[in-house]
């Protein structure tokens, strides 16, 4: 019973990490820099849902669309107004990383300024005692989170695998220079991955807002876990990012069972360090191809 409960806890956490990680990986693979403000775009989505639903009084479905739209526009905005101008001035990826860190603090404090620090709960689904499934207690909402998360991950995989857009994105991710020679507008694809990645972040934000209360600083915690998942899975591989995220979710929950629970985060980062030492390319990462 404890075993299945830990699996459930790990899957719920992993589903949210996975949505954060795929967006991060998608943006990284085409743009080749760390967009650390990606977690804050998730926070923007969560606050968007809260604001739309409780303050504007929009119907729930409309609030969800509003939240995703706000996240998409914010993420796109970071690319258009911050990263792109910097890139055009020849900024290296380490400069862009620092810009990302600055954006992280910017978004945290912007949210704090607009919404204050009081607890933001949605309570759209009442807090009820969970159902017991295979010995694990989970609420219908949590099952919903795992299912919706998996659904969008599958859609993304399908798009990346079979559509022209996906193939072009992968071409740019594989070798931006070659893709450009082959007639692909690489800059356009890089922008597109920001748009798609931020929309996924918006979906993640909606799920997080439903499951937990939103805080201005939630984005940083999420990107740390999402980033760990992405690196463990192989940072340029989207299926890898998903696998890595579930692994992080499961390991931290199982680890906290055997070790004092205060070490939960330490366990997750221990896994990150182990992977960096033993398998730097991650689970599904490739060591051939582009190198920085």
């Amino acid at each position: 019973m404890v075993f299945s409960q830990l699996i459930a806890n790990g899957l719920i956490a992993g589903s949210i990490y996975a949505l954060v990680a795929v967006g991060f990986s998608l943006i990284y693979s085409t743009n080749r820099f760390m967009h650390f403000a990606h977690g804050n775009i998730v926070a923007v989505g969560a606050y968007g849902l809260w604001y739309g639903f409780t303050r504007l009084g929009l119907p729930f479905v409309v609030s969800v669309l509003f939240a995703v739209a706000v996240a998409l526009v914010s993420g796109w905005g970071t690319y258009r107004f911050i990263y792109l101008p910097l890139k055009r001035r020849g900024a290296s990826s380490s400069i862009l990383l620092i810009a990302g860190l600055a954006l992280m603090f910017f978004f945290e404090n912007l949210i704090l300024l607009i919404f204050g620090s009081s607890v933001k709960t949605l309570n759209y689904f009442p807090t009820v005692r969970g159902l017991t499934i295979l010995g694990a207690t989970v609420t219908p909402r949590q099952i919903g989170i795992v299912v919706i998360s998996l659904f969008f991950l599958l859609v993304l995989w399908f798009v990346m695998r079979y559509t022209k857009m996906g193939i072009t994105i992968r071409a740019v991710a594989g070798h931006a220079e070659l893709a450009r020679i082959g007639g692909v507008n690489a800059e356009r694809i890089q922008e597109l991955s920001f748009i798609v990645g931020s929309a996924i972040a918006g979906i993640a934000g909606v799920l997080v807002a439903l499951e937990q209360n939103s805080t201005p600083f939630m984005g940083t915690a999420l990107i740390i876990k999402g980033f760990t998942g992405a690196v463990v899975g192989g940072i340029t591989s989207l299926p890898g990012a998903v696998l890595g995220s579930y692994l992080v979710g499961l390991v931290e929950n199982f680890g906290a069972w055997f070790l004092p629970s205060g070490y939960k985060d330490a366990i997750a980062f221990g896994v990150l360090v182990l992977f960096l030492l033993l398998r730097p390319a991650g689970i599904l990462g490739v060591t051939k191809g582009v190198r920085e």
Binding site: V119, T127, G130, Q212, A221, W257, S261, D265
Partner: protein
Amino acid sequence: MNTASKYLTGVVVALVVVWSGYTIYQQQLLPKQTVPAGPVKIGWIGPLSGGAASYGESIKRGVEMAAKEVNPGTVEIVYEDTKCEAADAVNAMTKLVTVDHVSAIVGEVCSGATLAAAPIANQNKVVMISPSSTSPKLSDAGAYIFRTIPSDTLQGSFGAQIVYDHGLRKLAVLYSNEEYGIGFNDVVTAKFKDLGGEVVANEAFGRDDVDMRTQITKIRDTKPDAIYIIVNNPDSAVAALKQLKELGLNAALFGSEGLKSPDVLKAGSAAEGLTVTSVSSGSSGFVDRHRAEYDGADPGPFAAQGYDAMRAINLTILGGARTGEEIEKALRTTSFDGASGHISFDEQGDVSGGYNVLTVKNGAYVPVN
């Protein structure tokens, strides 16, 4: 370079050396702490952002109310945001002491941050009065460290006693993994065992964590009668309450004063039945004045203690104290009826005090006798 200019350079260098030596010597002659005429500068450190920001904001209001009671120009308050983090508290403290030259400080809010900043206060002879840090360690933090809230040695024992008096014998503790939670957990656990009860689990979570399912799973496995939640961050408190309910725990819920906050009630039905111990939220006179001052808002957590901390400083200044040393001496004999009860500091800078017991019923805190 000819001889004349060499000579001239030599003279200039010698003059500079002598002059700078003289100024340094003169500065050393000056008394260490000079407070110029004009307002006495008072610092405020605490979280205005981060997970504990709501405590900081409510304390700030109490301090502002007390500051308005003295003639304009008597005191000047400099506010610094620390997010309740030790490193930020040290930076803010250093800035207040070396740049603003404050004589006294109201703060820090969180015990860990207060303990980190305390050595700087002691070294520079600047008084620090915390309105909310309850860690037992604060009692021994130095001569310049005071507080207007009783130590957790009192609250933890009191809390353990309440659980025991409810007839509950198997207790699990869920606490935040920082100075406040660790100190409180130690006291509750020791006291409950002394009483003859059994403590079946002590589970920690990170201070801003909102996912505690595994900790709760571990607690559930030990089948406790009661769960004591110790946290000073409403976000974590709400998450813990919801997840306890969702994971189907049937234990009685108890909480430290950190769970006495309007924000915690946002957990809705998950907060029902929660029993909290709480320091005074203010005399009725204070509540009325707070409402008049802030558009009908009730005082938040520790607003009364913040008011009392500032009021204590005011009284020493009105008595003629200006420097940190003078304020420290005057505080030893200061005694008044404050918003949170009678304030007088013992040798360790602590106040005594009682606790209210409240239970959440229909989404509101109801006093229990």
